[in-house]
């Protein structure tokens, strides 16, 4: 692309505009002050300031006009700005001559000029920084529009959910309605297909020849590289996704599942499902419904007893408790849990003298999903109470005296996923029966061994033959 002289001069506009703004506003202030006796001396300075301001306003108008021809901006707004700028220059000229003639009407023209400068300045600012620049942080706290996380990427619409967010984040700022660099808009299907000054930017099913992709892949230092090197760049993943989208036919309405997905694209698509945050994919065992904060006094009572009590996370009110260091556990301690029963989800009692009577109290804590009562004193009688925990998902019964009879009572715990019965009183012959009785539950019977191998005791001093 050859830069013409006029285009080159036009690019000085952003620098030059600040001169008339500053000088003419200063002239206005000088003028007002010079009306007072004590600042009378400023009268002559006003003349000089108006002259300089007028000249710089004319220079800005010319450079601005040259820049507007390049057409990278939205026509309506440019037009307003252009005519306002011309008006500033014209009124400045008039003011200068009126002032030198000591004509009193100058107060009106200087007032008008000041008003015009503010309007022109604002429209100019809107052109470069976007029309919502001034008020953006006030009206919308989050600068970016919040996007809903993609629950299932295969069901997502390729353009709307995959492509558009990338363009919006990295391209819109220069290729939108208000600012159309290279006469290109990327903020809508019709504009993307239309292309820019140099024609089409995307060729369906030929990403490698598409100008959009070519520019993204140019070395960062290259003049034509997009986005410009000082702007946020697209990462490999985003380029790969755009490339894939163009190669699979530039669809604006198809869903991800309707397009062929090469091996390389699959993980990228999958990563979009959790792209909103770095959080884990699988759901931890806490209920979806929110719960109010637990009573602080109740928590205090528990912590005073040496119980670990805390929310499962900063963004959750559900609680985990661990009795690992509690000495002399009593029924009273278990009763303390009742005041946080709505919040209680993960409970650890390992190695504590928990008995069936205590489980009866615990049965009121309906929200429990994980319960570790390994190495406690519970027996088969306790299962009546465990049955009353509908949300129970993981149950650790390692090292307890429970038998098959007790475990069979867990049939009604619909959500139970895993039960650990290593070192319990369940005989080996019942394992198969248990597994048929509780088909949805993984029953870990433990008792794993790592047999001693002959090689375990061989010490090599030379290579094996």
């Amino acid at each position: 692309m050859v830069l013409t002289v006029s285009e080159f001069l036009g690019r000085f506009h952003p620098v030059l505009v600040h001169l008339p703004i500053g000088i003419l506003l200063m002239a206005a202030v000088f003028y007002v002050l010079s009306l007072r006796e004590q600042y009378k001396a400023l009268h002559q300075a006003t003349t000089v300031a108006l002259l300089l301001g007028m000249l710089s306003a004319i220079g800005s108008s010319i450079s601005g006009y040259l820049l507007s021809i390049s057409g990278d901006y939205e026509a309506d707004m440019v037009s307003t700005h252009k005519w306002m700028g011309f008006a500033v220059a014209a009124v400045a000229v008039v003011s200068y001559f009126l002032h030198t003639k000591k004509n009193n009407a100058v107060k009106w023209t200087i007032g008008l000029m000041t008003l015009l400068i503010f309007i022109t300045g604002h429209t100019g600012g809107s052109l470069t920084h976007g029309s919502d620049y001034l008020t953006k942080s006030i009206t919308t706290p989050a600068a970016k529009t919040e996007r809903k996380p993609i629950a299932n990427v295969q069901e997502a619409v390729v353009y709307k959910d995959v492509v558009q967010p990338i363009l919006e984040e990295k391209c819109y700022s220069c290729h939108n309605a208000a600012k159309q660099k290279g006469k290109l808009r990327l903020d809508g299907p019709e504009w993307i297909s239309k292309g820019g000054k140099q024609g089409e930017v995307v060729i369906s099913r030929n990403a490698d020849e598409s100008e959009l992709i070519k520019r993204l892949l140019l070395p960062k230092q290259h003049e034509d590289h997009m986005p410009p090197k000082e702007k946020p760049q697209l990462n490999e993943k985003e380029i790969a996704l755009l490339h894939w989208w163009i190669n699979s036919g530039l669809s604006f309405d198809k869903k991800v599942k309707d397009l062929a997905q090469p091996e390389k694209i699959k993980p990228l698509l999958l990563s979009l499902q959790s792209a909103v945050s770095n959080e884990i994919k699988t759901k931890p065992q806490i209920p979806d419904a929110a719960v109010e904060q637990a009573d602080a006094a109740a928590i205090k009572k528990l912590t005073d007893r040496g119980v670990v009590v805390l929310p499962v996370a900063q963004n959750s009110n559900y609680l985990l408790v661990n009795f690992v260091t509690v000495q002399g556990l009593s029924e009273g301690d278990i009763k303390l849990l009742l005041s946080v029963k709505k919040q209680l989800v993960w409970v650890k009692f390992a190695n504590q003298p928990v008995n069936d009577a205590m489980l009866a109290i615990l049965a009121e804590c309906k929200a429990i999903t994980r319960l570790d009562i390994s190495y406690t004193k519970i027996t088969d009688k306790g299962f009546v109470h465990l049955q009353q925990l509908p949300k129970l998902q993981t149950l650790n019964l390692v090292g307890t005296a429970v038998t098959t009879n007790g475990l069979m009572q867990l049939k009604n715990n619909q959500n139970l996923q895993a039960v650990y019965i290593y070192q319990s009183a369940v005989p080996k012959k019942d394992y198969a029966a248990l597994k048929t009785a509780l088909p949805k539950t993984t029953i870990d019977t433990g008792g794993y061994t790592v047999p001693m191998l002959q090689s375990d005791t061989t010490v090599f001093t030379k290579p094996k033959a």
């Binding site: 945050s277 996370a313 993981t394 433990g446 061994t449």
Partner: protein, 502 residues
């Protein structure tokens, strides 16, 4: 006046004078000069801003530095056991099966692999060295594991092997530092310190971060790999010994009974309380809680560190023999510690540096012996955690600091007496299990000879990010303010390896 009265009077005068010093002009000027400066600096730096996220990093509570704290989001893992094979095990003899490399055995290394590369010991043109072990697919998942690890191959369906780990350090100490602190230079906190700083620990009678070493040496990077860096020193790893007293000087000296010990600690704490009232320095509270914890640990640490009370069949399962400083003993201890609510257990086993300079360092001799020392124990660890219902909340990580070259080492350009491999930073393998990791999976690929990574490039930062993620932390938001800016374990890198998460 008796001698005792004289002494008391002298002490009283000394205390009085010490106190008066805080009212002197000199003290005032000194403190205010520093104080105002710091104040001004603080407000200057404060404007740099903190991470404005929903999640906020924990605030250091000096009175209860190890009190349990909540993560950013609900965690899959509550504890971590990190098994580090110091010296760097050979991925080409253990997990990364390269039949093509066997065909090239004994041939000159092509120049394309050597151009622009630096090696620790390889000089000139080395010969390629085929895999010395026999590989087979194991389990339902069909993961490739060599016959060097006969026990481990039975549990592949519970682990995820990452074959595409890479580092930019080819010397042991910096590579270990990078792996554990996120920086190859000294001074950053280790993962265990970050984790205990973030989460505290659930058992206040035990340290939150325990370190156990075996193999006869500490790792090359020294104790900095479990250091607390710029975090408060209470978060550094507590190294316990598996032979003799677990912690040196843990028993009361002769003539000091438990009550007297308690009385003296109470007295010291009372004096410290007075001091705190006077100066409001949070470090004093920290000291008080440390004294109390140390007192409690005198009972609880020897108790938990005793493997004699484990049943015989469990000890046999691990291959543990009480009284020895072995990896097997340490692994068994690690399980016991995690069971008791210890947050982070870090094991180092030394002796994996197989250069081929001796029989012990040969990939076809010494490496087999090293594997034998860890194979049974680490297999037992996974199975034992599993049967106790602990595997789903305990994250286990295994790995070294870098890998080993597909070329045979030719130290100083000469032929070596034994088959060895040089340090290789570009590609190596690690595995993870439990704590929300998807079992029976592999992640990443290397080229046909295991020289470079072809997909799934994984840096130390990615491993660290994944560990933090499983513990409920967004590694990008988990920061500590130091020298005027927030610091992260993963610095400016790191992405969670989502492909290996269940």
């Amino acid at each position: 006046m008796t001698q005792k009265e004289l002494n008391n009077e002298r002490l009283a005068t000394e205390a009085k004078q010490k106190e008066l010093q805080f009212f002197t002009r000199r003290h005032f000027l000194k403190e205010s000069a520093m104080g105002f400066g710091a104040l001004a600096l603080g407000s200057l730096l404060g404007s740099c801003g903190n991470n404005m996220g929903m999640a906020s990093s924990p605030v250091f509570d000096a009175a209860h530095p190890l009190a349990p704290r909540m993560p950013f989001f609900p965690a899959k893992a509550r504890s971590v056991i990190y098994l580090h094979m110091a010296g760097a095990p050979s991925q080409l003899e253990l997990f990364d099966y390269k039949p093509e490399l066997a065909k090239l055995n004994g041939q000159d290394c092509p120049p394309s692999l050597l151009e622009g590369k630096k090696f620790a010991f390889i000089r000139g043109v080395p010969k390629m060295l085929g895999p010395q072990a026999n590989f087979k697919q194991h389990g339902k998942s069909g993961l490739w594991v060599s016959d060097y690890l006969p026990h481990f191959s039975t549990i592949v369906d519970d682990v995820s092997i990452i074959k595409s780990v890479t580092t930019d350090q080819f010397n042991h100490a910096p590579a270990q530092l990078l792996m554990h602190t996120g920086s190859a230079r000294l001074g950053r906190p280790s993962i265990g310190s970050w984790v205990t700083y973030g989460l505290g620990t659930e058992n206040q009678n035990l340290p939150g971060f325990v370190v156990l070493t075996s193999g006869g040496n500490n790792p090359d990077a020294g104790k900095s790999v479990w250091g607390s860096g710029f975090l408060p020193s209470v978060y550094q790893g507590v190294q316990c010994r598996s032979e003799g007293d677990p912690v040196l000087f843990i028993n009361d000296p002769q003539g000091m009974d438990r009550d007297l010990r308690k009385a003296s600690i109470d007295a010291i704490n009372k004096v410290n309380q007075e001091q705190y009232k006077e100066f409001n320095d949070p470090e004093i509270l920290s000291r008080i809680s440390q004294y109390e914890m140390a007192y409690k640990m005198q009972i609880s640490v020897p108790e938990v560190m005793n493997i004699n009370d484990e049943p015989e069949y469990i000890r046999e399962m691990y291959g543990a023999q009480p009284g020895k400083g072995s990896f097997a003993n340490n692994v068994l201890l690690a399980r016991k510690l995690v069971e008791k609510g210890v947050r982070f257990v870090q094991l180092f086993d030394w002796g994996w540096d197989t250069h081929g300079t001796s029989a012990d360092g040969a990939v076809d001799i010494g490496l087999i012996n090293k594997c034998r020392q860890v194979d049974k124990a680490m297999t037992a660890l996974i199975l034992d955690l599993k049967q106790r219902g602990l595997l789903d909340e305990t994250l286990v990580i295994w790995g070294g600091e870098f890998g080993r070259t597909p070329m045979q080492e030719n130290r100083d350009g000469k032929e070596m007496p034994f088959k060895g491999r040089d340090h290789h930073a570009e590609a190596f393998s690690m595995w993870m299990a439990g704590g929300g990791i998807k079992g029976g999976t592999t992640y990443g690929e290397t080229d046909e000879i295991g020289y470079s990574i072809t997909s799934g490039k994984t840096e130390a930062f990615d491993i660290q990010a994944t560990i933090l993620n499983q513990l409920g932390f967004d590694h990008e938001k988990f920061t500590y303010d130091f020298q005027g800016r927030p610091f992260r374990l993963t610095d400016v890198s790191g992405k969670v390896i989502t492909d290996i998460l269940a």
